[in-house]
């Protein structure tokens, strides 16, 4: 018995010191432990009565248990491969005395609880650091920035002289986005935007904005709360509800090729359909039903005028259905039909429109919009179409360019024809530089035709 115990006892002090000290001691400890099997081999030559001694076996087992515990400690604390722990949602069964069981038992009820579990995965220090950083990022409020500088010049090409001829315009825009997860499938989002500078729209009397950055913003040269809403997803995330101060153009009238003033066309007529009639964001709600089958349906409302004293008198209501098709063996195409009403003017005015984007080839996507809006007189109408090019016809792989035409005809008689081409140079993941050339012709009722050529440069950063 003593012979069995001695070698282990002999190693014990050094083992104990090993666990509390540095690498050198670890090596010494391992070396002494390396001798253990040989000592054990020697023990087999001991008399049978000693080998079979029950108490001796028990003591050996105890020693082994202690050694294994120490090895566990060593692995848990003295090396970088700390066993991973995670918390898991589990179902247990609890009886009337509060005793938990892993399986259903008579007189128990099912309860969902959470419990830490230890798993045996050897992790590198890099993995641990990465996990910790990810975890910290997930718990914090996300902050994003989208900043842009748009420099434009107006060259009048036809019509009587106007103050805009030859002038340069520069608008700087910065959006700060805040996102935070509040609960399961529930997030908060806010967008605070600051605009500074002078877009050409102050001097070029166009029906639509030549710089879409200023759309749906009333005040400039100060901070605006563009959006602030809570979004939650229901019914296996098929239905999403966003409520708060919303920009309904983020949900309706989408278009894959003409919907983003930060990376595509800068003219607002090629960003959204003017027949939507949304002049500013407001408090409201958007509901999107998307079962991921290619069909989706959306409804939403918002206050259409910030000067209104109640929602009932300025209710803007919008509904849309969309469908994804692959007609005639072409690539994917998105087809959307929307309808809206707005009682902000005192009467309930209606409008409808379509928005289509269809991929013709891996390189070319064609897009188009149509809209018609009710007025006091004849209906306002809008139509736009264009092409977007990506892949193969660009200088750099992620560049894109496009040409688009938009025509706006007001029922009162004013017309606008706008043509824009752009090339978006994707410089880095966070930085884009794009070049724009816009030609716009205004035909106001009772006045002569006025045209402008508006070249522009947009530097856009998002991070």
């Amino acid at each position: 018995m003593c012979h069995i115990r001695d070698p282990i006892r002999h190693s014990r002090p050094s083992s104990r010191s090993v666990f509390g000290r540095g690498p050198l001691w670890t090596v010494v400890g391992f070396a002494s432990m390396a001798a253990l099997p040989w000592h054990l081999e020697a023990q087999e030559s001991q008399p049978p009565q000693q080998q079979t001694s029950e108490s001796g076996r028990q003591q050996l087992l105890d020693r082994i248990d202690e050694l294994e515990r120490r090895l566990d400690d060593l692995e848990s604390t003295a090396v970088l491969s700390e066993p991973e722990t995670r918390v898991r949602r589990i179902e247990v069964w609890v009886d009337e005395n509060g005793i938990e069981y892993d399986e259903p038992m008579p007189g128990t009820r099912s309860v969902v609880t959470y419990q830490r579990e230890r798993v045996f995965r050897r992790q590198t220090i890099n993995e641990k650091i990465e996990e910790a950083l990810d975890d910290a990022a997930n718990r914090s409020v996300g902050l994003g920035v989208d900043a842009a500088i748009v420099l434009q010049n107006a060259q009048q090409t036809t019509g009587a002289d106007t103050p805009a001829d030859g002038n340069f315009y520069e608008l700087a825009s910065a959006d700060l986005f805040f996102t935070a997860g509040l609960a399961q499938y529930t997030v908060f989002f806010a967008d605070i935007v600051g605009l500074s500078g002078t877009p050409p729209d102050a001097e070029v009397d166009a029906l639509t904005l030549l710089n879409g950055y200023a759309a749906r913003l009333v005040r400039q040269n100060e901070l605006n709360l563009r959006e602030a809403w809570l979004m939650t997803e229901l019914f296996s995330q098929r239905l999403s509800l966003s409520a708060g101060r919303v920009d309904l153009t983020n949900y309706f009238d989408h278009n894959a090729a003409a919907n983003d003033e930060t990376s595509q066309f800068v003219s607002d007529a090629l960003v959204n359909n003017p027949m939507l009639g949304l002049s500013e964001n407001g408090a409201g709600l958007a509901a999107v039903y998307d079962p991921k089958t290619g069909f989706n349906a959306k409804i939403g409302y918002q206050q259409s005028s910030s000067s209104a004293t109640n929602l009932s008198d300025s209710l803007f209501y919008l509904a849309e259905v969309g469908h994804l098709w692959t007609p005639f063996g072409l690539g994917e195409g998105n087809y959307r039909l929307w309808y809206r009403t707005d009682n902000g003017s005192g009467t309930n005015r209606k409008a409808y429109g379509v928005s289509v984007d269809q991929r013709l080839t891996p390189v070319i996507t064609v897009f188009g919009r149509f809209g018609s809006a009710q007025t006091d007189g004849a209906r306002d109408r809008f139509v736009s179409a264009g092409l977007q090019f990506r892949n193969g016809t660009v200088f750099n792989p992620e560049d894109a360019w496009g040409i688009g035409y938009a025509q706006t005809e007001l029922g009162a008689g004013d017309d606008e024809m706008l043509l824009e081409g752009y090339y978006n140079l994707h410089m880095t993941e966070k930085l884009n530089l794009s070049f724009h050339l816009t030609h716009v012709t205004e035909e106001p009722i009772g006045a002569g035709k006025i045209s402008y050529l508006v070249p522009g440069v947009r530097l856009q950063a998002s991070f």
């Binding site: 294994e68 090895l71 898991r88 792989p397 880095t428």
Partner: protein, 407 residues
Amino acid sequence: MSLARITLVSIISSLLGSGTLLAQEHDAASHAVSGATGGDIKITDPAAVVLIVNRDSNDIAFMDIHTNKMIGSVFLGNNVNPHMAMMSHDGRWVVTGGTRANKAFIIDVPTMTLVKEIPVGFAPEHLAFTPDGRYYYQGNPDGDSISVIDMVSLTEIKRIPGFAEPLNITFTPDGSKAYIGNYGAHWVGVVDVTRHELLKRIQIGEVPEIAKLDPERYLGEIKGVSNASISNDGRYIYAADGDLGIVGIIDTRDDKVVKTIRVGADPWRAYMSHDGRYAVTVNNGDETVSFIDTTKNEVVATLEAGPDMTGVNFAAGKAFVVSATSGFLYVYNMDTLKPAGRIKIGTNLQLETATTDTADEKLYLASSTDHSVYVIDARSEDVARVAGVGLYPWGTHILDSKDNYCH
């Protein structure tokens, strides 16, 4: 030899032999040892089992494909952390790489016995058998090498150096060449299987000049080629490159890129549909999937998908895309190339990869954080959970399945 003695000896020998540190899972360790001594036949039909790679319980589990009952598991050792398992073509062996043990493990399937541990390169992960089953190539991504394991002598006969984070291995049908995806580079390695030598490095695409402006993206972390996916006739390789956002098509006759196709952002790899008509890439950068028509070799549809996609399975005329962190499988109709809904597996789950059975009827999806495998009927889209398959199931495997892959 007493059980306690065996445990102690195994602890110390593992300490000395591999440099890995010490046992924690005592019960499991003893189970593995007792399993190793058993010689009774436990599996008579290797095609009727689903292999489950349990990363954190360090075992390969076997599930009856007909009853969804667990047959048993083979413990590999503490902190081995297996990554991928594959059954030999004859169903005799299961091989796996223990990422944190730097070893390959050979399991005898009929007896469910661990028969050999073979030291290989650093952090072994993905693997493949040669078509004749004579060799198995074990990729060692952190060692930038491929270990060649002779399945007759069960030894590593060669370690092929010169790769850059080699992930998946694809053999040509005649077994003459292997194509290795290098995630740490933008090339595919071509290995002469006769001599087990790296023959060529085929560049999938050039990094654009403008990349100089974006060191954060191009120098921070490389996302190169994870897999060389081969067409059904063996003629072409489809190799997706994550950073470049392209799929390079290699003609295996002369090992040249014959075309590059731009897909969505950050494609993980291409998955070949079972009829060979489409190569489907999952693009995690913009959360889309791209369908490449392999007759025209161009993208015919790019459709919305989910975050963190890890794989695609084909069954019942549909493609099922695993979205790891959303808890969904996104479904696409392979005839119309339109989205066909999504299947919710659960909430707060981490889905890993799935295998399709040979009848193309059911998917076996590993779900790591709830230690489960979900069996999905591809036609009805009914989902059945098999809980308690082991800790952190990382992947599944079925003999002769066309969707045996890893991530």
